[in-house]
Amino acid sequence: MQHVYLDHNATTPLAPEVLETMAACLGQVYGNASSIHRFGQDAKQRLEAARRQVAALIHGQPAEIVFTGGGTEADNLAVLGVVRAANRPSHVVTTAIEHPAVLAACAQLEREGVAVTRLAVGASGVVNPDEVRRALRPETVLVSVMHANNELGTVQPIAEIARIAHSAGVLLHVDGVQALGKIPVDVEALGADLYSMSAHKLYAPKGVGALYVRRGTKVAPLVWGGHQERERRPGTENVPGIAAFGKAAEIAGANLAADAARLGELRDRLEAAAMERISGVSVNGSRWNRTPNTSNLCFEGIDGEALVIALDLRGFAVSTGAACSSGAVAPSHVLTAIGLPPDRARASMRFSLGRDNTAAQVDGFIEALAGSVAHLRRISVHA
């Protein structure tokens, strides 16, 4: 059976060139980037080349890139690091549709005595900048808003939020994990003081990420050790992973416009066909201003968990909600936050396309989707 992957917001396959870069590094570049000798220097060169490549993708400076062990760590470093560096009674503003990496870090801050405001978000799935303005307090030290939402794909008005935060002297962290490589990112134009990235959403391996930290921004480290990454992220650098991330950033930058246009067309093809072939289908969140690869649809009266399994058995990998620790489906906090009643949240599915998907795959998927939805409605497995 052919297996078609339509879950690229969860993770992406390695790009062939990225695999090549990584394999070459793993095989040959084994020096410690902190070592004085040529083995170390070789590793250091790969590390700094990757730093330049990642910085270029977001229009930052290489010295502003801190490599981390992934997107979750980047988010934690930003949220916890800024507040702890401020070292005074603090307040943080974030939104109800952030990734758990930000929400759980904020919950940890609350346990440490920090006040946190989580902004409600309307049905569009887009944060209203005026809400950010209203939430600011004299003791606010950080606003954390994601660039693009992982489940809906909705792009947030970051530049406007940055102006509001900066005029109050507050730093802005942007979780850019789902935006990187899908839409243009320019940290200068956006006004982000911190910007989180993850390599594995960009056709590079898991376990690598980065945090952009604007020059002059104080961030306390999460772990303690050596002087690596300007003492913000101690530990011997994962050079093969970071080199792979660099290569992936270079490829993403070169193909950004073309990829976006092609994936946008495929996504629109998928949505149009789903709505034409299947009754009771609606788009969750704003249809405009979304990342081009993402579609979140509600299939009235369907149990999303059953649909995911049925589609997987037919060879199509999609997702619903969030996985809990056992691997079962948990209700989506994002869909709940934008006001979907529980039955509609359970009836919703996310489709996220990627570089390797084709129109033929989308057409085949629509057949399987229409068949599965009809089957589920016939046997009336209710959400």
């Binding site: 059953a306 399994i309 058995l313 809990c324 056992s326 691997g327 089957h375 497995v381």
Partner: protein
């Protein structure tokens, strides 16, 4: 990747040796099998009940790990499905309200009726499976003359689970396989070993899966506190059948008929709980002889293996899972009500438990004791 094409059978996999063996047996026969583990209860939800290092309870991550490992070993597609919402509505809440009403409920039967053989069948349908298989020790046969599926005791008397299955309908039985019904537990373990299953030596689960250490009173208090229901006015009197006050108690839900421990009363002869009255918040105690009953009424009776009888029927009736069964005459008062008249008085007939009727190894039906 395993072949996901043909999955006519969905196996309910708990991560234990029984359901793992069922999955392996069916997979070995070359029948398309999909393994599903039902996530029923979040064990971390009531943190005050958390038991350090507790394993082998339902829906623990260790059990899911074991089930996933077995599915990998035998090469079948495997998924965890989240039934927490339905489990709370249809098993946990009735369990709690039954206790508060002074009865002693059996959540396993509710789980079988509403989750394992209802919601799970729906999920099986959804993924294209016609049949389901579980690790229950019970057998299903088909009576051609009557056009009826029949439920029979498992061959292993000590493991027979028909007491918990009395609510199954014809439609459910028609689609259910109990591959272990003809085997004994030692045989199942031996088979699991010979199949090389990683769980072959895993110990059996014993207690009510969502109640740590069998301490249901602690579970009730924690659950009611979390859901914001006050356990108000739970304290009350312990009285004799004649109404004489002999002590105090902290809530009728701490007591079940036949219970001797935990009364905190010094008496010349052993005292037992003979009844609980949740309205008056009273626990009635008496001697062993006061526990004997010759008759009981069962409600919501389900006739499994025979049509509702029009004339009195002789049967062996079990009133607890570990009860040997006692000879009795059944009189159907209506389609779903039965009066059971025992030949000999029975000790501790407990409201909320099930009365299940047998003719030899045939489970005729059963209902809830009033």
């Amino acid at each position: 990747m395993p072949d996901f094409d043909a999955v006519p059978i969905a196996v309910a996999m708990s991560g234990g040796v029984d359901s793992s063996t069922v999955a392996a047996l069916l997979a070995r026969e070359g029948r398309g099998v999909v393994g599903l583990t039902m996530q029923l209860w979040n064990q971390r939800r009531l943190p005050e009940l958390a038991v350090e290092g507790a394993t082998g309870r339902c829906c623990s991550l260790d059990d899911v790990y074991d089930a996933r490992r077995v599915a990998e070993q035998i090469g079948i597609p495997y998924y965890v499905v989240n039934f927490e919402r339905q489990f709370e509505e249809q098993v946990v809440k009735p369990f709690v309200s039954e206790y508060l009403a002074g009865r002693t409920p059996i959540p396993c039967t509710l789980c079988n009726n509403y989750i394992k053989f209802d919601r799970f069948l729906e999920m099986a349908d959804a993924v294209g499976a016609r049949e389901i298989a579980t690790g229950h020790y019970a057998r299903v046969s088909y009576d051609k003359a009557a056009g009826r599926y029949q439920l029979r005791r498992g061959v292993d008397e000590s493991k027979d689970q028909t007491y918990f299955l009395f609510g199954l309908t014809q439609a459910q039985l028609a689609r259910t396989l109990f591959p272990l019904g003809a085997m004994t537990k030692p045989e199942v373990r031996e088979l699991a070993r010979s199949l090389g299953l990683s769980v072959a030596a895993k110990s059996d689960s014993q207690e009510i899966c969502f109640v740590p250490n069998g301490d249901y009173a602690a579970f009730l208090s924690a659950y009611l506190k979390e859901t914001g229901v006050p356990l108000e006015r739970t304290r009350g009197e312990i009285v004799t059948a004649a109404g004489r006050r002999v002590g105090e108690h902290a809530g009728v839900h701490h007591f079940t008929v036949g219970q001797r421990r935990g009364l905190g009363i010094a008496a010349a002869e052993p005292l037992y709980v003979i009844a609980t009255d949740p309205v008056a918040q009273r626990v009635v105690v008496g001697g062993n002889g006061d526990l004997l009953r010759r008759r009981l009424s069962a409600r919501e009776v389900n006739w499994i293996s025979i049509d509702p009888p029009r004339t009195p029927v002789r049967a062996a009736v079990k009133i607890r899972n570990k009860h040997a069964g006692a000879a009795a005459t059944l009189v159907a008062e209506s389609a779903d009500r039965v009066t059971v008249e025992f030949d000999e008085p029975q000790r501790a007939v407990t409201p909320g438990q099930a009365a299940v009727f047998y003719d030899g190894d045939l489970a005729l039906g059963g209902g809830w004791i009033e």
